[in-house]
Amino acid sequence: MNSIAANEIKTLKLSIYRYDPLKKEKPYMQDFDIDIPLEKDLMVLDVLMLAKEKDPSISFRRSCREGVCGSDGLNINGKNGLGCITPLSDAVRSNKLSIRPLPGLPVIKDLIVDMKQFVDQYKKVKPYLITDKKVDTREAIPQTVQEREKLDGLYECIMCGCCSTACPSFWWNPDKFLGPAALLQAYRFIADSRDTATEERLEQLEDAFSVFRCHGIMNCVSVCPKGLNPTKAIGEIKKMLVKRAL
């Protein structure tokens, strides 16, 4: 049977941030009543798709719908997360769901933000292997098990931007403070035994803003959909910078 009985449905109060650059009006919240089947724990992205059926002009990014591409970073009831892997049972409070764009970044339309500042900071840390050894690119560069284990919890970042856009230091200085995502990647290559540019990487980070604007408030850890810990990585970079200065 395809139809769902009325007693198997609940109506969710959904509120979505709306902004259209072509209309001369300020951003506003638009309310929807969305019927949700009770037997399933839908994801926030599913609810957005249901809302889009009611109003096709709602704009948001999404792609893989399984927490891999990092496209659908959103502010869900006040907390950043990926719409596709955030179940309603975790997100909804008092039958209400408010969805807003990632904080601090320029809004292009509705829930779509301009990620340029985020990506620019990411580029600065040179997120690729640098080595002065002669490498045959057809062969792997060997690492011990212990050396490889140091990269666990660092390489899994999907660049969704949830962490950096939850960080007040990034809100106030998006051009100077690198942000948790970029710093996690910086440490990912600093900690990599195959990378020989550690000194240059640390030198680039040695100023008052790039790293030291992090005050360890752990918003980044709290929102990371992959369960990573940028605060710990930033702490490691800080320790290396202090040791280097002494």
Binding site: P21, P27, P103, V107, G216, I217, M218, N219, E236, K239
Partner: protein, 122 residues
């Protein structure tokens, strides 16, 4: 028209460690603003016997007591929260659970201190 940025601080959720950090800054502002008047009052009170008697009258004023309580509590909170940050700088309490527990501990320690302080001074 410049693109808007969504940044409503009253709608964005903060973990306990985030609240702790904001209070750390607010306590620093309170210490910065109140240190000079409090030091001036201390110098005034210690300058003569008459001035000390005058200080005691000021001290009994409820408004002054509230300001004084805020000042002392801010110093205590800033000290405890600063210790927490120092521990984190040494690489401890950097997990989400430990960060939350240590932040909540600073709140409880400050609340306990405040109760003791109020019992002793009011």
């Amino acid at each position: 028209m410049n693109s808007p940025r969504y940044l409503n601080l009253f709608k964005i959720a903060l973990p306990a460690a985030g609240v702790s950090s904001i209070l750390h800054r607010l306590s620093a502002v309170a210490i910065f603003v109140l240190s000079l008047p409090m030091m001036a009052l201390l110098v005034f009170a210690l300058s003569s016997k008459n001035n000390y008697s005058l200080f005691l009258i000021i001290y009994e004023n409820p408004f002054f007591k509230i300001i004084f309580t805020i000042f002392i509590t801010a110093i205590f909170y800033h000290f405890v929260s600063g210790l927490r940050h120092l521990v984190m700088d040494f690489g401890y309490w950097e997990t989400l659970r430990a960060g939350r527990l240590s932040a909540i501990s600073t709140f409880f320690a400050t609340a306990f201190f405040l109760i003791i302080f109020l019992m002793l001074t009011w």
